[in-house]
């Protein structure tokens, strides 16, 4: 018989107040301020913005502290907050060519116009822990070099001149960009929708898939044509103004992956491309996104779909860490009734199995019982 039970209100209330206490930790240690998180844990903030799919540094910082540094929980909080806000519209597409560049490197061209600008990178550091930082040592101002403003065209524009690389991805003329926040996912999906899903996808998941392509599962010979990080201006067309409303600037990371392609029935030998565009300074994520974007173009380019990274439904259905964590973590919530039903079923199956395997023993048991 099924009896509905309820309970746990007091336990839940007390658990949440215990959570608040543990979140705050030792009261003799000063509480973190949001501006400290924004300034000093900036890349964590950027990750929460990109996977939470909401560009707002302070909210991301609040989410990080509220989640006690659990990034996926923080991303979940940001996603939930987003649903409470009205929608003003879609921005005009950003122009990454006009970016105020803070970092820009190319692994394919040494002497590209505008040069190689390392910016604030972990590359070439020795990955040694710094005791000076633990001691709170002062940090010197960075050096400056006065130069004239140099145009910094995207490397794809340079490669395009030789005609050996495919153009920027186009969609049919009347195509309206899809929006996964408005319409449910449908497969197969257009590249624009895939890119939206990848841009908010879990960094670890996309990194592992990108890595798998390099190790031979859907090998696609990638080079980093260019990575650029910096601020771009954002504009929105609104009916009340005769021009696009300027909204301010956002920092993004763009990765142009260039892939050797020996040609297929559908396309001649050339360099093909994968594209990554992510909120904030999120280089690893942008690279992983570009690798996955290229791998997922397999059918479009006439390649055999043989590996996980090329399987659109597999990749896109499992890239969202809020969905993934929701389904995995729901397993710990009460399943008492489901389990009772299964327990009953397994008991019955076991009894039948034993009756089949060992009929005499069951017979003896029954006689003993009688």
């Amino acid at each position: 018989m099924y009896v509905a039970v309820k309970g746990g209100e007091a336990a839940i209330r007390n658990a949440h107040s215990l959570l608040a206490d543990r979140r705050r930790g030792d009261r003799s240690v000063p509480a973190l301020r949001l501006d400290q998180i924004v300034e000093q844990l900036a890349l964590g903030v950027d990750r929460v913005m990109s996977e939470g799919s909401l560009y707002d540094r302070e909210l991301a910082a609040l989410a990080i502290v509220q989640a006690r540094g659990d990034m996926i929980e923080a991303i979940f909080l940001v996603r939930a907050y987003r649903t409470t806000l009205p929608r003003f519209g879609y921005s005009k597409p950003i122009d990454t060519g006009a970016m105020l560049v803070e970092r820009r490197v190319s692994a394919t061209y040494k002497d590209l116009p505008g040069g190689q600008l390392l910016g604030p990178t972990f590359d070439y550091t020795h990955r040694l822990l710094d005791p000076g930082l633990a001691a709170g040592a002062d940090v010197a101002e960075p050096l400056r070099r006065e130069t004239e403003k140099l145009a910094m065209p995207r490397v794809s524009a340079i490669l395009a001149r030789e005609g050996l690389i495919e153009a920027d991805g186009q969609m049919p003329q009347d195509h309206v960009p899809g929006d996964i926040t408005r319409e449910p996912l449908e497969f197969p999906m257009a590249r624009d929708i895939r890119l939206q899903a990848l841009s908010r996808g879990d960094e670890g998941f996309l990194l592992a898939l990108g890595y798998s392509t390099q190790r031979g599962y859907a090998r696609n010979h990638p080079f980093v044509g260019e990575i650029r990080i910096g601020e771009v201006e954002l504009e929105l067309d609104v009916p009340e103004l005769p021009f696009a409303a300027p909204l301010g600037t956002v920092r993004v990371t763009e990765c142009q992956m260039v892939n050797q392609f020996k040609g297929s029935a559908k396309a001649p030998p050339q360099f093909t491309r994968g594209y990554g565009l992510v909120f904030g300074q999120s280089e690893r994520k942008a690279m992983a996104m570009a690798l996955c974007d290229r791998a997922l173009r397999a059918s479009e380019l006439g390649e055999d779909v043989v590996a996980a990274a090329q399987d659109e439904e597999f990749v896109i259905s499992h890239s969202d860490n809020v969905q993934a964590t929701g389904f995995v973590e729901h397993l710990k919530l009460p399943h008492y009734v489901d389990f009772q039903a299964e327990l009953d079923l397994v008991r019955r199956m076991r009894a039948e199995y034993e009756a089949r395997e060992n009929p005499t023993k069951v017979e003896e048991k029954r006689e003993a019982a009688e």
Binding site: M49, S91, T147, V252
Partner: protein, 153 residues
């Protein structure tokens, strides 16, 4: 006349861009220093919502949606009748209200010069300084390649 109108629109847009990029604190400080009037009827907002940010495939191809950003907007009407608007990234309602008033004042020919010189120009110069500093700091990380000469000639 058409040329003048286009120039006016470009200048108004540039002023709005400067306001959108500046911090609310800077706007409030300059506003008070300049003694600009802050009474205006709120026609809409200030209210915070989302704008979906779009990129282009490959940087220059077809548009796609990247993710949302918080944006706060306000619309005001001055006692003299001008209607001003503001849209700015973030959730600063005070900033959106003042920026909308600034946009309305800017449209008043009697006020435009004052708004430009006392508010927009100092904000613009502060933004330019910050940008220039960042550009120079980035430029110091530029790789200068040099060729290793083998042997002696």
């Amino acid at each position: 006349m058409r040329g003048q109108e286009a120039r006016d629109q470009a200048e108004r847009k540039a002023a709005m861009a400067t306001l959108a990029q500046s911090s609310g604190d800077d706007i409030v400080r300059l506003w008070n220093e300049a003694g600009l009037p802050s009474q205006a009827e709120l026609l809409r907002g200030p209210e915070t919502g989302l704008v979906t940010l779009r990129g282009r495939i490959g940087g220059g191809g077809a548009p796609f949606n990247v993710g949302e950003a918080t944006v706060t907007r306000a619309t005001v009407r001055l006692p003299s009748g001008q209607v001003g608007h503001c849209y700015a990234l973030g959730r600063d309602k005070q900033k959106a209200r003042l920026a909308a008033i600034a946009d309305a004042l800017w449209q008043d020919p009697a006020r435009r010069a004052e708004v430009e010189t006392r508010l927009i120009a100092p904000l613009r110069s502060a933004l330019a300084t910050t940008q220039e500093k960042r550009r120079a700091e980035t430029a110091a990380t530029k790789v200068d390649f040099f060729t290793m000469v083998r042997g002696e000639d």
